[in-house]
Amino acid sequence: MTSPVVEVSHLRKTYPPSRTAVADVSFDVARGEIFGILGPNGAGKTTTVECLAGLRRADGGTVRLLGRDPQADPRSVREHVGIQLQEAALHDKITVGEALDVFGSFYAEQADPAELLDLLDLTAHRNQQFGKLSGGQKQRLSIALALVGRPQVAVLDELTTGLDPAARRATWDLVERVRDAGVTVLLVTHFMDEAERLCDRLVVIDGGRVVAQGTPSALIEGLEGHRGVRLRFTGDAARTRALEILTALARQDDAVAAVNPAGDEIEVSGTRTVLFAVVQALAAADVVPDDVRTVERTLEDVFVQVTGREYRAEENEEVTV
């Protein structure tokens, strides 16, 4: 099975009167991947997966899911795709066990409810009503419902929003277990750290367009000046001297891209050999830093580089184009 499980090509969707939610989005997902759709709120992520699931009609482009066209025949993908939507989607008075049984009954092939409850740590809450579950428990039930029909593809939309850090980490482990069970996972998220931690590959969407795609590590490696070093010195004199040396170094050595004072520290960025170059230059001038730290680059830096602005998850709430 080398053909992609999901193929999205030049997808476009405009809401009346003129709000373009998705301008041009293309990507492929291979079987068994955890694939991320990452971007700030309002970037067009949910609209993209809704078109993909056949819940919305796209204005342009093509979508293929397991070789079928969910736009032309939404029913054809229902059996094989499990979707966990952002909002709570159950009656407050239905119990966990009842919800699993009733959703399971819709599918030709059903997962064993007891196994699912166990996988999602919900066995103890089997007889509890939905309205009385905690946020994390609701979220886990929502994932269980997405998996109850033994789907080949699971779409998980913002599944850790509103969860505390411990519950988030537990949910991440769970997503990996789901993938290990053979399900291709499409993860929609506005959390950079979540995407970086979980995704095999991802697309970054901004303003309805793909602005970056690849594996998290390749995206970070691809950053200009993707390695950073922070240096601290005792006394202004030493720092000023170091700044002069490093600024000169940046002009001569391609390994050093930028030198910036940052509070009482100096931040230097550059290629893989930046640390070596910096330490060597300072040692040659006999300037000894108190502390040297390497700075980790993240997907957030990727976002800043490709969009030219800082990443704020809540921005673009009302994009009008």
């Binding site: 819940l55 079928r68 229902r78 059996e79 909002e87 819709f106 080949q152």
Partner: protein
């Protein structure tokens, strides 16, 4: 293996009935019974009101001496029973049902179902069945209570009563569906439902009994679904004024107008 499924699935899905409807119906019924407010208004309120008035108000126990025989010996509450049946229909259609449907939309249940092989239309269908069931229980309890506890004589023309009840149900459920068609929230549907519910009650004789209602109110009532229902049920129960043709036509007309409108305007997400 996947390739084989790919070829077979679409035809197979079309050929068989929707899987899981029985489980859906049974679960929804169980969950419905857990809502005390809905259960009270749908099942208990009409019969409770009838029995309460019949037992507590002395005038309702006295025979209707001015009515044509054989009704001149029947207790006064007899003329209130058709109104109570109309009330039972109106209460379910305008208070219970629209709130349920709008809440499904508000909670994302309809949208969630659209991602499964079970179309959300079937959830609404299941609840229509549950509401019909509730209606039968509620009306049945009113009639049985009236006959056994209040000594109300049985209907002169039960088939007419049944026909009017069926048409009243189709007209009022269509109206309830229309009320819920666009509401984003349960509370919105509730407010809109109440706005129609209370005037409807007035014209169906809940507050001013049909027997003493002024002519102009009766005329307006004839053209309203719940008013026509109460009048038609009264005509069928007493059987003294002939077949309630105008009321039956009015109810059929409301159904024919409201049902397609409700279905067309209903937002499924």
């Amino acid at each position: 293996m996947s390739a084989v499924e790919t070829v077979r699935a679409p035809g197979a899905v079309r050929a068989r009935r929707v899987r899981g409807f029985g489980t859906l119906l049974a679960t929804e019924l169980k969950v419905w019974l857990r809502d005390p407010t809905a259960v009270f208004f749908a099942l208990v309120f009409p019969t409770g009101l009838l029995l309460g008035l019949g037992l507590a108000v002395p005038a309702f126990a006295e025979p209707m001496t001015e009515a044509p025989p054989p009704w001149n010996t029947a207790p006064g509450i007899t003329s209130y029973l058709p109104t109570i049946i109309a009330l039972a229909v109106g209460t379910i259609a305008l208070t219970t049902m629209p709130v349920q449907f709008a809440t499904f939309r508000e909670k994302g249940v309809l949208k969630r179902l659209s991602t499964t092989p079970m179309p959300p239309q079937n959830l609404i269908g299941a609840h229509m069945l549950i509401n019909v069931l509730a209606l039968l229980v509620s009306c049945g309890a009113s009639v049985v209570g009236a006959l056994l506890v209040l000594d109300v004589p049985f209907a002169a023309d039960p088939l007419t009563v049944l026909l009017v009840l069926v048409l009243a149900t189709t007209a009022m459920f269509s109206l309830g569906m229309l009320v819920a068609a666009r509401a984003e929230k349960g509370t919105t549907a509730s407010g809109l439902g109440m706005l129609i519910y209370f005037p409807s009650l007035m014209f169906s004789g809940v507050w001013v009994p049909l027997s003493v209602m002024p002519d102009w109110m009766q005329t307006i009532g004839l053209y309203l679904p719940l008013g026509a229902a109460a009048q038609g049920l009264t005509a069928g129960w007493f059987g003294t004024d002939g077949f309630p043709l105008a009321q039956v036509l009015v109810l059929a007309a409301w159904t024919l107008v409201l049902f397609p409108l409700g279905v067309r305007l209903f937002r499924w997400s």
